[in-house]
């Protein structure tokens, strides 16, 4: 599985969205991606990629696309 596939799968699993919805997916844009959902997503991505995301990056992780650039900071190229 590529990193992109892994990344996508976490969103799909967590929020029950379709692949086509991912590019426009935003924090608080859907009901399930609320503040609790956000923390669950962060934990899932940390576990999946074996990284530890800083608080500031958790706050900056505001949409699906932005998340890719944040993970890149941790050496996860998507």
């Amino acid at each position: 599985m590529t990193n992109l596939e892994k990344y996508d799968r976490e969103f799909i699993k967590m929020f029950g969205v379709k692949k086509e919805e991912l590019p426009t997916l935003k924090y608080r844009g859907i009901k399930k991606w609320d503040s609790m959902g956000h923390m669950d997503l962060m934990s899932a991505l940390e576990e999946r990629f074996d990284i530890s995301i800083s608080t500031l990056d958790v706050l900056d992780f505001t949409d699906y696309e932005k998340g890719k650039t944040i993970l890149a900071k941790y050496g996860v190229e998507i």
Binding site: R28, S35, M39, E46, I53, T55, L59
Partner: protein
Amino acid sequence: MGAGTFREGGLSSEELIQLPAYGLKQSEKEALYGKLLTDLTREHGQKCLPYGRFLRAAGVQEKLDRGEVLTEEEIPFLPVSVFKERALRSVPQEQVFKELTSSGTSGQKTSRIFLDADTSAVQQKVLYRIVSDYIGADRVPYLVLDTEKVLKDRSLFSARGAGILGFSIFSSQMCFALNEKMELNLEEVQAFLDKNKGKTILLFGFTFMIWEYFVRALEKKGVTLSIPGGVLIHGGGWKKMADRAVTSEEFKEGLRRTAGITKVSNYYGMAEQTGCIYMECECGYYHASTWSDVLMRRPKDYSVCGAGEPGLIQVMTPIARSYPGHSLLTEDIGTLIGTDDCPCGRKGKYFTVTGRAPRAEVRGCSDTYGG
């Protein structure tokens, strides 16, 4: 979530967030705040019609029109209760990203605070900057001294739930110490502590809940925990504790005795200025961070109190941008202890909060609040 810009002050909100949390001397801060708050007052007057009417009625608009830069003391203030009476926002409704409500004291109307995405993001970052001064910059295991039910049950979801969620941005993993019946879940807590031995652990809860369902519950069970890396942050007021004649010292001693926690900080804050909380330092005083300031005012004429003199607490913050809540007179009584010279090393003002004013005392400017 692009951060807005403080065009006039020459300082973007991103730059403001990057300043040291407690490093500004009061004189530097007041110079900065005069400019930032004057511009923000003008901006809210233009974007929030009722607030604009208030500025004209209060005679402030003329000064702004003349281009005067107001001092902190001259910045007009609204009584905090105004958000219970009116829906005040400085952004179009479609930009409202979330609406905070706070019940305040029981039996009163609810405040409504309108946040746009930028304001909400800045609030969270400010909270992060303040709290990381106490727990460090990394996310840490988070032991919530409450029940998960407050997050699930919408009827319970209030200041308690919002506080727990607000601090969840600091958590790498979360554990709720209490079950649905508000009983201490000792096995789960112990497992969580074992797993995170040697780490900094953030504990958060409401003062009364912590005392009743954690400290006293441990005492009743005759169990002691060992959380040497614990940093406990609590809020929600002392009223119920004062009713039981529990002092701040006894509260801290109880936590040390039952859980081995030596770092305990109360905080003062309100939904009307979310994010910029006032943390209690090692010396037992609340500190204004870089992102907010306080003035104590005499209830009889709203003149500014000297150090050591109790008065109504006015809170100011340059980060309240989507609603005109940048300068508010609270109903709380506080005493300025000093400025720039707390033994803990933090710059700026430090103070104590001693109680609430009787309801009738705080009318502030609401009487002139036409429209």
